[in-house]
């Protein structure tokens, strides 16, 4: 992939790599990693007997928890590389740039061996290998893949795992307990939120549910909101089902919350917008992963202990949310070291306990057996931030109130394109800003979605 990996083209930087390369194959010890026991497992089982020397390059995001990147780059990858005689080179870029970068690599048919993104990228299915082998290997070690990861990365039409998910992130609501307490309400259900919205705004603490086309948080929050009202983008057979009375009702509901309880800034947010909103002390409620509580804790902001974590409020159809983000890796067809890439991902997931702890409970393993929910509960219970035990709700959210993108169907290329084009936030914004009536906005979104789905159906991807 990269010129810097080829000795003929390197600029003399990598003496260590040449040493490792020349060290010879070496025996690879067979280890048994008990599922969930957290033992290190670096030796191959399925890959026994294969030569695994050379280089491995991968690109991933800059994790909001610096300690995770430090663990991943300097502990995990280094130790794995030494055990497997592979020099692992990891690049990090901002998550919002991952899609552009992956597009460039596909177009050039050259780039990193393994690519990462925070959502399944089904549109690359034809450019990546089948990851079924990796999933099977991990399942042999730690048990079945979780429902969320399975439905997010598997194409039932082609029977191919087009990505390998190592983690997902539950998506709670983060709210200021002190501010809500002052008005005598809590965001237990959406009716309460609507009731509280004008009171909170009058108190100088508006709600912050984004409706921005430039923001993954807005996308996830609003699609989850739709599900609470019984409205879904697609059904189990991957037919577009957005056009319904429930969608219209949801649009009216959110428009009312905006008009009486939010401010215009929500239309222009990027992924850090709602975070800054809550960090400023102004916001009273946002949808976000726990980065929105960890940062105030780390920065010692005065209201850090007043930030509570709850599941998404309950709507007429119940409580359901997508995961906030999902870590998805894939191996390009043009990858130079596919064997090492497969083993790297398999080993990473099998030993996911360390990753979970390094991420400060941000990354939940996509294979529940890698770290069981009971062990997760124990781990989060040890967190000392106040209110004590507040992170315990994450397990409940993950188990009961989190589903995959594309629910009740599978994530697919059409759903991915819908997501990348921010069709749902645009639909909500048009109604909230009174540019369209709810029915008009639903009709427009329905037309656009049907075109997208027709295209991918024609390509036989759904």
């Amino acid at each position: 992939m990269s010129s810097s990996d080829d000795p003929a083209r390197r600029e003399g930087r990598y003496d260590r790599r040449e040493l490792i390369r020349k060290a010879g194959a070496g025996a690879v010890s067979v280890g048994v990693a008990g599922s969930g026991l957290g033992q290190a497992f670096y030796g191959p089982l399925r890959f026994k007997g294969r030569w695994l020397k050379g280089d491995l390059s991968l690109i991933t995001w800059v994790h909001f928890v610096p300690a995770f990147d430090t663990w991943f780059d300097k502990t995990w990858a280094v130790q794995w590389g030494q055990k497997n005689d592979v020099d692992v080179k990891i690049d990090h870029i901002l998550n919002t740039l991952l899609t552009a970068r992956s597009t460039a690599e596909v177009a050039a048919k050259s780039g990193h061996d393994i690519f990462f993104n925070l959502s399944p990228q089904a549109q690359f299915e034809d450019d990546v290998i089948s990851h079924n082998e990796i999933v099977q290997e991990v399942q042999r070690k730690v048990g079945k893949i979780g429902r969320i990861a399975h439905k997010a990365t598997y194409n039932p039409k082609t029977k191919k795992y087009f990505a390998f998910s190592d983690n997902y992130v539950p998506d709670p609501v983060i709210w200021r307990h002190d501010i809500w307490n002052a008005i005598g309400l809590s965001p237990n259900n959406w009716d309460n939120v609507r009731k509280a919205a004008p009171k909170l705004k009058a108190a100088g603490h508006p709600i912050g549910i984004g409706q921005s086309a430039n923001d993954v948080d807005s996308n996830m929050a609003l699609m989850s909101f739709l599900m609470c009202f019984g409205s879904f983008i697609q059904d189990q057979k991957h037919r577009v089902t957005i056009k319904s009375k429930r969608t219209v009702e949801a649009l009216k509901f959110m428009a009312d919350i905006y008009q009486r309880g939010e401010t215009d800034e929500i239309f222009g947010w990027d992924p850090s917008g709602n975070n800054n909103f809550i960090y400023s002390g102004k916001g009273s409620m946002i949808f976000n992963a726990i980065s929105a509580t960890r940062t105030p804790e780390d920065r010692g902001l005065p209201f850090a202990n007043d930030l509570w974590i709850w599941p998404i409020p309950k709507g007429p159809h119940g409580r359901m949310a997508y995961e906030h983000v999902m870590g998805c890796w894939w191996i390009w067809k043009f990858a130079k070291n596919k064997a090492a890439a497969k083993k790297f991902l398999a080993d990473l997931e099998i030993n996911y306990r360390d990753a979970f702890m390094a991420s400060k409970f941000y990354n939940f393993p996509s294979f529940p057996g890698a770290m069981s929910f009971s062990r997760i509960r124990k781990a989060v219970a040890s967190d000392k931030h106040r209110p004590l035990g507040k992170y315990g709700i994450l397990t409940t959210i993950a188990q009961k109130y989190t589903t995959n993108p594309g629910h009740p169907g599978y994530a697919n290329a059409a759903f991915g394109e819908m997501f990348n084009k921010s069709i749902i936030p645009k639909m909500f914004a048009e109604v909230s800003q009174k540019k369209m009536t709810p029915q008009e906005a639903v009709n427009a979104a329905d037309r656009e979605l049907k075109q997208i789905y027709a295209k991918w159906r024609k390509l036989k991807k759904i």
């Binding site: 992939m1 909001f64 990090h92 970068r101 597009t103 780039g111 948080d217 002390g281 920065r299």
Partner: protein, 298 residues
């Protein structure tokens, strides 16, 4: 005598007052119009400086942000973090190396090209010059994918030399077009006189034309360097490893963690290269304006 002297002195003072009043009338209006714009444009730099030296716990305090410091500021922590915990010094070095190389290549290519098109190519030269300039207008967002393919073919990915190869694709067209207009302002008679005196074309260029063209050349140097420093799409696409990054993508990709921008560090990172660029523009402002407008009157 005394009365005359008195009258002179009174007249002198009156003259001074008149002159002052005239100056105030002439310039006061200009300052009145330009002043608010200057304050508006300078305000982001003011915020940048304040934020660069502000403690990170104070970013979210609306009572002091963005106008002033809190009780824990000013602080060197952000600058210290930038230089000790990131690859920022390497980004600066990479940017300087690429900038100097690209400026050199641009001058080597654009100077003779601009002269040739201005002097030797006649009406065809005019059209060709416009055509060359139009290539500058093609946005990098259209070209970064094919360029990425080319960079991979020549095995320069993840190397700063990929940018040295690609950046002249937009600095040379613009500089050629700029210099073409500038060379046209130089009287043909100067060259004719030199040629009549026995100087070769090259000697005429180096001894007469180029020294006169210093403002244009300086404009090309400053403008090309600015383009290199500010360019993002190619620098981001061609280079992944942090230690090889350029300033623009490095600051954006490495100093924003997920949904958490490190504001103080970002502002320090932006402030440092701004200062020499601002000094450069300020020092050569007259020549810069002359270079840009030199071709406007032909």
């Amino acid at each position: 005598m005394l009365a005359t002297q008195k009258l002179d002195s009174i007249t002198g003072r009156g003259t001074d007052v008149e002159a002052f009043g005239r100056a105030l009338r002439e310039k006061g209006l200009s300052y009145l119009i330009v002043g608010p714009f200057a304050i508006l444009l300078a305000f982001p730099f003011y915020v940048m400086v304040i934020t660069a030296f502000k403690d990170q716990t104070e970013f979210y305090n609306p009572d002091i942000t963005p106008y002033w410091f809190g009780k824990d500021s000013p602080t060197w922590h952000n600058a210290s973090f930038l230089f000790h915990n990131t690859d920022y010094p390497k980004w600066l070095a990479n940017t300087a190396i690429v900038g100097l190389c690209v400026v050199g290549i641009t001058l080597v290519l654009a100077l003779p090209a601009g002269y040739a098109l201005a002097r030797l190519a006649g009406r065809v030269g005019q059209g060709l010059g416009v055509g060359i300039f139009l290539t500058y207008l093609v946005p990098p967002t259209l070209l970064f994918i094919p360029f990425f393919w080319v960079i991979n073919q020549v095995h320069l990915q993840n190397s700063i030399w990929s940018l040295v190869l690609v950046y002249p694709s937009f600095t040379v067209p613009f500089s050629t077009w700029l210099l073409m207009g500038f060379f046209k302002t130089i009287p043909q008679e100067l060259e004719d006189a030199a040629l009549v005196d026995g100087a070769s074309r090259v000697k005429t260029l180096t001894r007469i034309i180029f020294p006169i063209s210093i403002p244009g050349i300086l404009t090309v140097v400053i403008f090309s360097f600015s383009l290199v420093v500010n360019e993002f799409v190619y620098a981001f696409t061609f280079i992944s490893p942090s230690e090889h990054k350029m300033l623009s993508p490095g600051v954006y990709t490495d100093l924003i963690r997920g949904d958490l921008p490190e504001w103080g560090t970002i502002m320090v990172a932006a402030l440092i290269p701004s200062i020499p660029l601002a000094l450069l523009y300020n020092t050569f402002l007259d020549r810069f304006i002359a270079g840009f407008t030199g071709g406007a009157f032909r």
